[in-house]
């Protein structure tokens, strides 16, 4: 009996870890897409922020400064992407692809340049984020709060209404005197900051190490989560829990006696994706993206 309870608690805790980066990134991207800025460079932003936060944390031995640096770097990349998208009327997808390629070079290069090792760098114990009650990450709690707060702002305040107007009909928003570009830029920076927090959480807290493959597709899965949650932060929290739990289950299955060594690991690895596919196919109906998301707003 205690074995069962222990397993359940274990799975819940690992779910809380697996869902945090997904939910954070998705909530940021939802805000950004609601304002009309699509960013498929999330994958790159997660890894760059993860790296910078480790660099700062190992230097200062202060995890909170590291976390802050990660958020800052994410916001900075978000700012660049936002400038290109909102003011430059650029092709947002190309910019996002560029961010991903940049990260593919930047992260492994900096790991070598900073620490002289190829591949990965362990975070020293003093640079890691302490856990609440020895189990839960404070970033997980922050993540839940951020998701709820963002939902509230988007759907219950006039600021949220303005942001959503940008994604639906920027021209109407413009006519009403809303600063389209400025608000789009702010949303993109917010999205970047949350992706940065997700990256910093992964390296400084969850995994305690930085590798060049740290994001492992989570940026793209977050994009899937955005669609899954129908562009609603509260649903992103639930969806993140679903995606995260299938991950936790997969890791648990891999070492389960009777499965380990019998079913190939590669096949078990497909599980989270199959579960997600099944969930989307069975649970949700037609998702509706913001109408003008990803389309540069040009004045007549």
């Amino acid at each position: 009996m205690s074995y069962v309870i222990g397993t359940i608690i274990n799975l819940l805790v690992s779910t809380s870890y697996a869902m945090t980066p997904l939910t954070l990134t998705a909530v940021g991207e939802i805000t950004s897409e609601r304002a009309g800025v699509v960013n498929i460079g999330l994958e790159g932003m997660i890894s760059v922020s993860a790296l910078v936060s480790v660099a700062v944390a190992t230097q200062t031995l202060n995890p909170w400064l590291g976390l802050l640096a990660g958020v800052g770097v994410g916001a900075l990349i978000g700012l660049i992407h936002g400038l290109i998208s909102a003011y430059g009327k650029g092709a947002q997808i190309i910019s996002g692809v560029g961010i991903n390629i940049f990260a593919l070079g930047f992260v492994p290069y900096m790991i070598i340049a900073l620490w002289g090792v190829a591949g990965y760098k362990q975070v020293p114990e003093a640079g890691r984020i302490p856990r609440v009650a020895g189990l839960v990450s404070p970033v997980f709690i922050l993540c839940v709060l951020v998701a709820i707060a963002t939902h509230y702002v988007l759907f219950r305040t006039s600021l949220g209404l303005k942001i959503r107007a940008l994604g639906e009909e920027p021209q109407a928003a413009d006519t009403l005197g809303i600063h389209v570009e400025r608000l789009q830029l702010i949303a993109a920076v917010y999205g970047g900051a949350l992706a940065g927090l997700a990256g910093a959480f992964m390296s400084l807290d969850w995994l305690g190490t930085i590798t060049k493959e740290i994001a492992a597709g989570r940026g793209f899965i977050s994009l899937a989560l955005v669609v899954f949650s129908n562009w609603k932060p509260s649903l992103a929290l639930l969806g993140g829990a679903l995606f995260g739990s299938s991950w936790a289950l997969t890791e648990w299955l891999k070492v389960l006696p009777g499965v380990k060594g019998v079913v190939p690991v590669t096949i078990i690895n497909t599980l989270p994706y199959v579960v997600t596919l099944g969930a989307v196919a069975g649970v949700i109906g037609r998702a509706r993206p913001p109408r003008k998301s990803g389309v540069p707003y040009l004045r007549e």
Partner: protein, 363 residues
């Protein structure tokens, strides 16, 4: 009319060139900041990507060879965008196309051209099957294609890795799958280079796609669906069916990239560990398609551009000692600058030149 078309093409080309220049300057500054000689690096990039084609065919042929899969994946993505879909599943189509060839090589265990035929049929069949999952979920359940195709990409990834590790590993080198037998390989166009006849197939695919999209009823309806779904539906077009066809069309083009890559590129002729020799080809296709403004013919120069960058990277590494990672970084900066179509127009506006207004549709 003709004059307008020519001017349009010139403006678009000008935009790409300006963006490239901006990207190269920023990239150069970054290289200088890290203590590398940027001019020397770019000189070696150019030398290795183009060289002097009259005396040495290798640089240019390498560029074209690396451009080949990107033409296929760029086309695949362009077809989806034209029909109003943001189909990221091109990536898994590439994996599965190659997987079909490996399966055929492993199952038949014979050195005959038959492997090429059966392998490509299996590969394209697998790609189409996966695309059909995404297509039917979109049409019948209303699930957005971004979510399904990302999941399918990862499922395909682990399936291919399963075959590499558990089913058909190379007995001499377990980091790879078994290789495609010599007589099932696509011949090289020029001996001693990496350029195979798949480049010709890619060009043909591009012309065919152009013809289908602009000179057939099917292509017309596909584009109409992409421009305005509701209008197309009211005009009596079967938009759901068109959506499914668009997915399958894309999958065939993406699958061809995988087939041609594994049967046409020396030296491996197999899938390497972590699918490293195929990974990202589908995603690069997105950039290629968008640089080529989602036009099947313009995808060719766009692919050659990216192909040249990928080839020149080797030169920068060897001659200017710029680490590969830093080169990737510079490449990223260049792609980000390519996103700015307004760069040239802003410049023009600044100089007081009148311009036509145009929109860039990305999704």
């Amino acid at each position: 009319m003709r004059g307008k078309v020519i001017r349009d093409v010139l403006v678009k080309t000008g935009n790409v060139v300006t963006a490239m220049t901006a990207g190269l300057i920023i990239g150069g500054l970054i290289m200088q900041a890290y203590g590398y000689d940027a001019l020397h690096a770019y000189y070696s990039l150019l030398r290795h990507a183009l060289g002097n084609p009259l005396t040495d065919a290798y640089p240019l042929t390498s560029t074209l060879s690396l451009a080949t899969p990107l033409i296929f994946t760029g086309l695949a993505f362009a077809v989806s965008v034209r029909s109003g879909l943001f189909n990221i599943g091109v990536e898994n189509a590439v994996y599965l196309g190659a997987l079909g060839m490996v399966l055929a090589s492993g199952l038949l265990r014979a050195d005959t051209p038959l492997v090429l035929i059966i392998g490509s049929l299996m590969g394209l069949g697998l790609s189409v099957l996966f695309a059909f999952v995404a297509a039917s979920l979109k049409v019948f359940r209303g699930v957005h294609e971004v979510i399904t195709t990302i999941m399918l990409n990862w499922i395909a990834y682990w399936l291919v890795d399963y075959v590499r590790v558990n089913v058909f590993p190379d007995p001499r080198d377990p980091s790879k799958t078994i290789a495609v037998p010599p007589s099932a390989r696509i011949p090289l166009l020029i001996r001693g280079t990496e350029l195979s006849a798949s480049f010709v197939i890619a060009i043909l695919a591009s012309l065919t796609t152009y013809f289908i999209l602009w000179y057939t009823v099917f292509g017309y309806e596909l584009r109409a669906t992409g421009i305005n779904l509701m209008a197309a539906r009211y005009a009596g077009m079967k938009t759901s069916r068109l959506t499914i066809y668009s997915f399958l069309f894309s999958a065939v083009l993406g699958g061809l990239a995988g087939v041609c890559e594994i049967t046409g590129r020396p030296p491996h002729y197999s899938i390497t560990t972590g699918i490293s020799n195929l990974m990202g080809l589908g995603f690069d296709g997105i950039a290629v398609s968008l640089i080529g403004l989602n036009h099947p013919i313009a995808v060719i120069p766009a692919s050659i551009l990216i192909g040249a960058l990928n080839t020149g990277v080797r030169g920068m590494q060897i001659e200017a000692r710029v680490p590969f990672e830093l080169v990737r970084l510079v490449q990223g900066v260049i792609v980000v600058s390519l996103a700015l179509p307004g760069l040239l127009s802003t410049l023009q506006k600044y100089l007081g030149i009148r311009r036509g207004r145009r929109e860039v549709v990305v999704s």
